[in-house]
């Protein structure tokens, strides 16, 4: 019996392994292709080989020589970080209130924030363009940060309130009984337990801001506040007559790196099941 069972699980494992490999290759192939392109020299660019015949870092050194890309990178990092920070801080406060307090209009607030998150962004682009032009926000950092927060905040509130609901209410009461002020109870008990939720939310919000193209292309017009996804679409290469494919590939690889770093950095802090052991036996 045991032998048969063992064989069965081995077969099962193999099947799952193959399936997983297929999915991973399917998902990663375009990425690897871009990486490969970014290392090819100009004349071998279109030779169709997956592994470059002649390796070169020219594409990378070139894009970092253009102010176009470097400015866009700085804009992207700055705008995404600020929007993420603001959304997470306000999202934490709002989610805490939603999970803990009973106040009039609570369900309305949750409903409206969900509504905003579902709102088609495209339909907001032209009104936002007009508004920002008349307020002088067009083609500025705040001009992008503000709409990002509008859409990131509901996302943050929604994810975070799910996390806050998981934290036993009694822990806060226990902290109060142990002599903590509400502030101390939040900082020393609730915040450490909410940290995984905050980090998860930060990752989601950061990715949303980092990858946005629609707002970025509609609400900017110069290098002053253009973010990388938009800058990429304006890439022409070093001279007008050059094929920019290599540069675009290199830039695409470069802008993936901050996201990977960001996720890796926070993922280590996301320890699943942190609240286990708080209550009951």
């Amino acid at each position: 019996m045991a032998g048969i069972g063992g064989a069965e699980t081995t077969a099962k494992k193999t099947r799952w392994g193959i399936l997983n490999a297929v999915v991973v290759i399917y998902a990663l192939f375009p990425v690897l292709w871009i990486v490969s392109l970014s290392f090819k020299s100009k004349d071998t660019l279109a030779d169709g080989n997956f592994i470059p015949r002649s390796w070169t870092f020219d594409n990378y050194s070139e894009i970092f020589k253009t102010t176009e890309f470097v400015r866009a990178l700085a804009n992207s990092i700055g705008i995404a970080l600020i929007a993420t920070a603001v959304a997470v801080v306000f999202g934490t406060m709002a989610a805490y209130a939603i999970a803990r307090l009973d106040f009039p209009g609570k369900s309305l607030l949750v409903g409206v924030s969900l509504l905003i998150a579902m709102f088609p962004q495209v339909s907001l682009v032209s009104p936002l363009f007009e508004i920002e032009r008349s307020l002088g926000l067009f083609d500025t950092w705040p001009g992008l940060i503000l709409p990002y927060i509008t859409f990131a905040l509901p996302l943050a509130i929604y994810t975070l309130s799910a996390f806050f609901r998981e934290i036993p209410w009694e822990l806060e009461k226990a902290a109060k009984m142990d002599g903590a002020t509400p502030g101390q109870a939040f900082r020393r008990v609730i915040a450490p337990l909410a940290a995984p939720g905050v980090f998860t939310t930060a990752i989601l919000v950061f990715i949303f801001c980092w990858n946005d193209f629609l707002f970025a292309i509609s609400l900017t017009s110069t290098e002053r506040s253009r973010t990388v996804p938009v800058a990429l679409s304006f890439f022409t290469g070093s001279s007008q007559f050059e094929d920019p494919t290599g540069s675009i590939a290199a830039a695409a690889v470069v802008i993936t790196i901050p996201i990977i770093l960001f996720v890796l950095f926070f993922q280590r802090r996301i320890v699943a099941g942190l609240t286990s052991g708080a209550v009951k036996g």
Binding site: K176, M177, L274, A278, V279
Partner: protein
């Protein structure tokens, strides 16, 4: 340490639920007092008001003679153990127990010493550096107690601290809670819905029902002198037998036969202005196999014969169960007790059930007739309408 006084304390929740009504309790310094009652009777609400976790709607709470209604929990110097233990999962056992001291800005050496002392008392020494998630239920429970005792508060509040443990551990922990309280001599308010815990632990027991205090007294006193039907039925296991009866000139007409009241009870009943329909309450241990009752005693009681439904031998004595023909006693209080113990459907219909505890030497057999005697001076009579004990005496 300090005495705690609840003076007409009432709690009305924002949704309009009246959870606690005009509760008066005076808890002496160093006393171990138990709040007991069925689920939903307002025990936790009362405890949370003492703790400061719930606002008091009306009435006054005094600790050590001072009104504390408006004080935050942290300014009341009271420790609490929660039913769920509420341990901080991101802290080790040591950090959990040290938390109240750290908040009080106690210096490191003292924290170390107090935590170690508490760990010794609670036998947690070898677990100090573990996280709560790696501990067993009993160990978690002890950590929760440790966190409460480290800072030597004025009083301890415990909300069903043992109800999440398995039966054996619960009995064990019950003894240690009792020992701990004696050792520390700190005022303790302990909430439970388990009458056995209430009987075995407290100096005094407060029986609550529907947000109101029914009776306050020493466990034995409540057992012997219940003020009403609810207390009589709630305290004691197996619980008191209740049989409906008509009362005429000192004679009880009941499914147990016609019982002649003793002079003592007759006087009490007359003084209490009893109605003509009453409920007779008899504790299981006041019955005996009549063949084992000595001749001179027999006259002071009443004998009946019935078929033994079930006979359980406990070694030290036997429980004999009977079903007598007749209607079951009905009252609001009995219905509530049955609902709480989940026997509402089980005992429905078909006669009056009776539990008797008789001597192990009895030769009564299951399915056969047995002659049972009971002491007529031990019966208690209750008013079915108000639930009042018509035979209640102070001593």
């Amino acid at each position: 340490m300090a005495e705690i006084v609840l003076d007409k304390v009432t709690k009305k929740y924002p949704d309009g639920a009246l959870a606690v009504q005009e509760v008066d309790i005076e808890i002496a310094d160093g006393e171990f007092i138990i709040l007991v009652g069925p689920s939903g009777c307002g025990k936790s609400t009362t405890l949370n008001m003492i703790a400061g976790l719930e606002d008091i709607t009306t009435g006054e709470l005094r600790i050590g003679g001072e009104r504390v209604n408006e004080r935050a929990p942290k300014d009341r110097d009271i420790a609490m153990v929660f039913q769920s233990y509420a341990l901080y999962p991101h802290m080790t056992v040591r950090e959990n127990m040290a938390f109240p001291l750290r908040l009080a800005k106690v210096d490191n050496a003292t924290v170390e010493k107090k935590v170690n002392d508490a760990a010794d008392i609670l036998d947690l020494g070898q677990h100090l550096d573990r996280k709560p998630s790696n501990l067993s239920g009993g160990q978690r429970q002890r950590v929760a107690m440790g966190r409460a005792i480290v800072r030597s508060p004025k009083a301890f509040l415990m909300d069903e601290p043992l109800s999440n443990l398995d039966a054996k551990l619960r009995v064990q922990m019950r003894t240690s809670v009792s020992r701990l309280q004696k050792q520390l001599g700190t005022t303790m308010v302990y909430v439970t819905h388990d009458q056995t815990e209430a009987m075995t632990l407290g100096d005094r027991v407060v029986v609550m029902r529907g947000g109101a205090v029914q009776q306050i007294g020493a466990p034995q006193y409540l057992y012997d002198h219940p003020a009403n039907l609810f207390v009589a039925g709630f305290i004691g296991s197996p619980s008191m037998n209740f049989v409906p009866a008509g009362l005429e000139n000192g004679l009880l007409r009941s499914p147990l036969g016609d019982i002649q009241l003793t002079d003592r009870i007759r006087r009490l009943v007359e003084a209490a202005d009893a109605p003509s329909e009453v409920i007779v309450g008899i504790r299981p241990e006041h019955f005996e196999d009549s063949s084992l009752v000595e001749e001179h005693q027999r006259g002071g009681g009443h004998t009946f014969t019935s078929n033994v439904d079930v006979l359980e031998s406990m070694g030290s004595d036997k429980f004999a169960y009977f079903t007598l023909s007749g209607e079951q006693a009905t009252s609001a209080e009995l219905a509530e007790l049955a609902a709480d113990s989940g026997t509402a459907e089980a005992s429905g219909g078909g006669g009056v059930s009776l539990v008797t505890r008789i001597d192990a030497a009895s030769t009564a057999k299951e399915g056969e007739q047995a002659e049972i005697w009971f002491n007529a001076d031990k019966v208690q009579l209750f008013d079915p309408q108000s639930g009042r004990n018509l035979t209640y005496t102070e001593d």
